[in-house]
Every structure is written in structure tokens, then in C-alpha cells.
Amino acid sequence: MVSGPVLWLVVVYLGSLALLITSAFFRLDDFTGKSTSEWTLANLDEAFTTGAYRTLVVRSVLIAAAATATCIAVALPVAFYISRLARPWAKRGLVVALTIPLWAGYLVKAYALRAIFEPGGANGGGFLNSVFGGSPGFGYTATIVTLAYLWFPYMLLPVYTGFERLPDSLLDASGDLGAGTLRTFRSVIFPLLIPSIAAGSIFTFSLSLGDYITVKVVGGTTQMIGNIIERTLLAPNQPLAAAFTLWPISIMVVYLVVMSRLGAFKNL
């Protein structure tokens, strides 16, 4: 009974991952754009020792981290309100309302944000520009805000569940011992929520790190690691593209290890 799914996992998932990693070690035939059967380390060398690509990777990680931080900053008060302050009948409605954007298409949402951030120009620009008279335009800000908007429900749900699980007795005890709201949040609520936040951040961070479409739509001339992988793959230079993917793969392995130390997987 178990062997079927396990076989599927090993062959289809790990097998294709292994194929991907192996293909990074083949030499490309310059002219036909197909990989040969010759082994080489040149692709790894190009992908990992070029200064421009390192800057790109650092930039991608910072963008993903900023999008994650934005999600956390918004999810904490919103989840707190739904879980602790909203009337019982309103709770379910609010959770549904906040996760409904997941039903809308990715591109629809990205292009909606594009219409909001469109900088001023010959024809007046987008929403921010026409209503508030100024827009940060396309670039880092727009990319981070759009990514945070796209992945927000993935952070909200675990954090909300975390709040639901907080025993009231602990909050009462904190109050009885004289702690104010902020102190209770800092010393009681936040430490107990860390596993939930870590779980949510796995989604927001990994989805942001691998994204290359949002940054095309609202990023202006900004590039992320996914854009370079896409362009190299289409070049077509499959071996070098495979070498580039080792960047996000290794970053995510490290990230998952750190998050599991924080207790993220106890909450999934």
C-alpha cells in the first residue's frame, strides 16, 4: 500500500531533481544548443564564481526576505484581531475573505498591482500616481509589495492557527503578573508564535525566491535569480541553467534546516 506513493516520490520527484543536478555537469555544444556527453565543471564555475551572479543571488534573497518580513508584519495584527477581538460569527467570514484572493489568477493580481504602481508619464500613470500624486514606480518596492500581496494568505493561515492555539490562561497569567499588552506580546505571545511564523515563512520565502514573473511585471529593470535561469534555459543552455538552479536549491536547504530548528514542521 505504501510502496506506490513512495515509489512515485523517489522516481518522479527525487529522480527528476537528480537529473536536473546531473545535467549541470555536461558541456554544451555551442552551435546546436544541446548538451553533449562530455563532463565539465565550467558551468558551476560560471554560475558560482562570477561576481555579477553573486550580487544577483544576494539581491534575490533580500527581496524574498523583505517580502516575508512584510507578510509577517501584516499577518500578526490581522491574525490577532481575527482570533482574539472579532466576534465569533465574524471570524470565519474574515478568514475566508482574506484567503479569497488565492482564487484569483496569479497574473491577474500581478497586473492589478502593475496598474497601481504604473509611474507617471505622458499618459498620467497608474492608481498611486493619479490619486496620491506620486508612485515609487517599478522596482524593488513594487516587487516586494506585490510578492507580499501574492503570498500573504500562506502566512496568515498558520499565524492565525497559532493565535487560536494560545491558551487564554497564559495571557491571563501574564496580565495578573502586571505585564502590559506590549510586554505580553513580546514575552508570551511572540515566542509561542515563532513556529507558526517559521512555517508561514517557508511558503512566502521559497515562493518569493523562485519567482521570476512578478519581477518582470512590476520590477522595471530589476532581475532575480529565476530570470537568469529562465533566460539561460531558453538560450538554450540547459546545463548552465541547471547550474544556476543549485543556488536556490542550496539556499532553500539551509533555510529549511534553520526553520525546522525553530519548530516550523510541528505546525504543518
Binding site: 555551442d30 552551435f31 546546436t32 544548443g33 505622458a122 498620467g124 533566460r231 539561460t232
Partner: protein, 387 residues
């Protein structure tokens, strides 16, 4: 490359031996050509540039697919390729029957064995194609055609006529003091390095560039330097044509490397969008419809090739896409009677400073005895520039 040369020598020796022994053998490729066409297979899968395969869904008046489907019973499925690189990648998958390949893709497809030689006797309309487009280095090997010429055009400068005077030179795209600085849109593909080479041909003749696709190490470095300088005035690097169209319409982009078809689409919503060809020269394309070597619907593919270069369809595409038709009889059928003169279909001098996209190779394409930068290096350099 050393290895490639060895392979080449070996195959040359093999060919000589074959010729010496056989005599009447024409070589594997041409004897494999189909001699006659059978019934259509009911469908044909195409990879094409945006605007090449229109079934009336973009504009009801623009439709040369429906008539083909009715006549032949071949249902047309089309996948839009955004760049030549993407088209090569799609054709390598073997899922498609035919492709509208530009010169920077054709040779790679032929070398990779992804496309098959074509028996032009089975394509009656081939006879009417302009002679100066037949059997060119980018669409044939040793006199064997690998496809049918579709049309040609120059990459234009799209601009917003309300934002200021019209651009005249490619310098407007590269000069840091350009009046359009910050609102410039650049084609996001390694082949764009050739545009920088054309800019250098106009501004730094001492570099001695004669062919923007044949750049030695020094010339290539200068082109990359020009692109790095350009980066500070670029507002957008586009690869999806709809992205550039949207930016032109919204006004956040006022000058850009473009295609006539994008300008046509954008000007329908924003009449201020216009196009011109840079006086110092431009990159361009001469496209070829080719048939996949693994085509699952070869009969429908042949019928499509014949249809797309028929005077009626060819005139339709040429007018919609904004390019010069390849069929000499198309000029009488365009809705605008001046189309062929507007697009300089038969004027040799107009095409003199249009440099058709082609694949840069280590052996310099302009024939000089030097080492040139091959296309893979172009891709890496473009990646690093954009990283």
C-alpha cells in the same frame, strides 16, 4: 571548436569517399525528401512570431487561418515564441510541426537536426517568391532548401510623438544625454548586443566593425561597455511584446526598440505611438518557415507552408505584421496599395543597412581571419549584464 573542426574534417572526408564510390548518391538528406503529399492529418502545430498566425481572434478582419482550416481540414494550433532562443528550445522538444524561424535560429535548428530539408516542388507558391530570398545562407545548405522565405523587416524605433520630436538615430537609444533617458525600452535578448554594435559602427568607426554579428574580443568588449552605459537610461527590458505594448500605451515608455506589429497594436489604443527606422542602420529579420524533422503532421505542415506564402495570406501577414512580403504577387493584393513601397519590398538599397539576425559563430561571419565571439558567449555576457 577544435572538436567541431575535427568532426567537420571527418565528415568532409566521409562525403568525399561517398562521392568517389557512389557518384549518383545525392547524400542522405535530399534523398529522404517526400516525393508527394498525402492526405492532411487533421491538425498542425506551429511555433510562430506574434502576428504571423492570425485566426481573427485579435481582429476579426485579420484572418488567414480559417480559410486554410476549411480548405485542408488541418486544425491550426499555434504557440507564440517570444525570442529566437525560445523558438529553438520549443522546436527541440519535437512537439511542433513547423516554425517561423529568424536567421538567428535557422542555422542552429539545421545544425541540431531539428528541422528537415523541404521539397519545394510540393509547394507550388514557392515559384513566386522573390529570387533574392531563395537559397540564402540562412535558409539552405548546399542548395538544399530548409524552408520557405516568409518575409523580412527592420527592427524599428517606436516612439511617443506627444513626448517630443521623433528620434532619428540609434544614438538616441544609447547616449546617456538622450532626451528619452529613463523612458527607453530595450529588447531583452542576447541578440540585442548587435544593436550596440551598430551604435559603435556609427560612433566609433576606429573599431572597424563591418558586421554586427561578427565581433572579435575587443569589439565585443566595447559593445558590452556601451550596453552597460545604456543601462542607466533604460526604463524597461522587454521580452513579452505585450509588456512593451502596455508601457508604450501607458506612456511610461516613450522610445524603444520595437517591431512594427507592436506599434500597430499600441497605436490602436494610443494614436501617438509611431515607428521609424534609425538612419544609421538597424537589425532586422528575414524569416523562414521550416518543418520539424520529427513532425507528426508533415502533410498538413507542407500545406501550411504553401498557404502562408500564397499571395493572399502572405499579403495579409505582411500588412498586419508590418514587413515586406516574400511573394512577388502579394504586392497586388495588399489592402493598402502602397504597402510594398512603404516597406521597400523590392528596393535593394533600403536593405543595405539592415543587418538580418543571424547566429554569431567563432569563425567570423564577415569572412576575416580572426576569432569571433560565439553565441553562447553572447548569452553569458547578456546574462551578466542583466544580473
Amino acid at each position: 571548436m577544435k572538436r567541431a573542426r575535427k568532426v567537420f574534417t571527418l565528415s568532409a572526408v566521409a562525403l568525399l569517399t561517398l562521392a568517389a564510390c557512389g557518384g549518383d548518391d545525392e547524400g542522405g538528406s535530399s534523398s529522404d525528401l517526400p516525393k508527394e503529399l498525402g492526405e492532411g492529418e487533421g491538425a498542425v502545430n506551429l511555433v510562430a512570431w506574434a502576428g504571423y498566425v492570425e485566426d481573427g481572434s485579435t481582429d476579426p478582419a485579420v484572418d488567414w487561418v480559417t480559410s486554410f482550416e476549411e480548405e485542408t481540414g488541418c486544425e491550426v494550433n499555434v504557440k507564440i515564441g517570444n525570442t529566437s532562443d525560445e523558438m529553438v528550445e520549443l522546436m527541440q522538444s519535437g512537439e511542433y510541426d513547423a516554425v517561423s524561424a529568424s536567421g538567428d535560429a535557422t542555422l542552429r535548428l539545421i545544425a541540431g537536426g531539428d528541422v528537415a530539408p523541404v521539397n519545394t516542388d510540393l509547394i507550388p507558391n514557392y515559384a513566386d517568391v522573390f529570387d533574392d530570398l531563395k537559397n540564402k545562407p540562412w535558409n539552405s545548405v548546399d542548395g538544399v532548401a530548409y524552408g520557405v522565405p516568409h518575409g523580412r523587416g527592420a527592427n524599428v524605433l517606436a516612439y511617443n510623438s506627444e513626448a517630443g520630436p521623433a528620434p532619428t538615430s540609434i544614438k538616441d537609444m544609447f547616449d546617456p544625454a538622450s532626451p528619452w533617458a529613463g523612458q527607453i525600452s530595450v529588447y531583452d535578448s542576447p541578440i540585442y548586443i548587435a544593436d550596440a554594435a551598430i551604435y559603435l559602427m556609427a560612433t566609433q568607426p576606429e573599431l572597424g566593425i563591418t558586421d554586427p554579428y561578427a565581433l572579435d574580443a575587443d569589439q565585443f568588449a566595447a559593445a558590452i561597455e556601451a550596453l552597460k552605459t545604456q543601462e542607466s537610461i533604460v526604463g524597461q527590458y522587454w521580452s513579452l511584446y505585450t509588456d512593451q505594448q502596455a508601457s508604450l500605451e501607458s506612456g511610461s515608455i516613450t522610445l524603444g526598440t520595437s517591431w512594427q506589429v507592436i506599434v500597430n497594436l499600441a497605436s490602436a489604443n494610443a494614436p501617438a505611438i509611431m515607428a521609424t527606422k534609425a538612419e544609421d542602420g538597424a537589425t532586422g529579420w528575414s524569416d523562414t518557415w521550416m518543418i520539424s524533422s520529427k513532425a507528426k503532421h508533415p502533410n498538413c505542415a507542407y500545406k501550411w507552408l504553401n498557404h502562408i506564402i500564397s499571395p493572399q495570406a502572405n499579403a495579409g501577414v505582411a500588412e498586419w505584421f508590418g514587413e515586406a512580403p516574400s511573394n512577388s504577387k502579394s504586392c497586388d493584393l495588399t489592402a493598402d496599395p502602397n504597402h510594398c513601397s512603404t516597406y521597400h519590398a523590392g528596393e535593394t538599397e533600403y536593405w543595405e543597412n539592415v543587418y538580418y539576425w543571424t547566429t554569431p559563430t567563432e569563425k567570423c561571419l564577415d569572412g576575416r581571419d580572426a576569432k569571433c565571439i560565439p553565441y553562447t558567449e553572447w548569452v553569458n555576457a547578456w546574462n551578466e549584464l542583466r544580473a
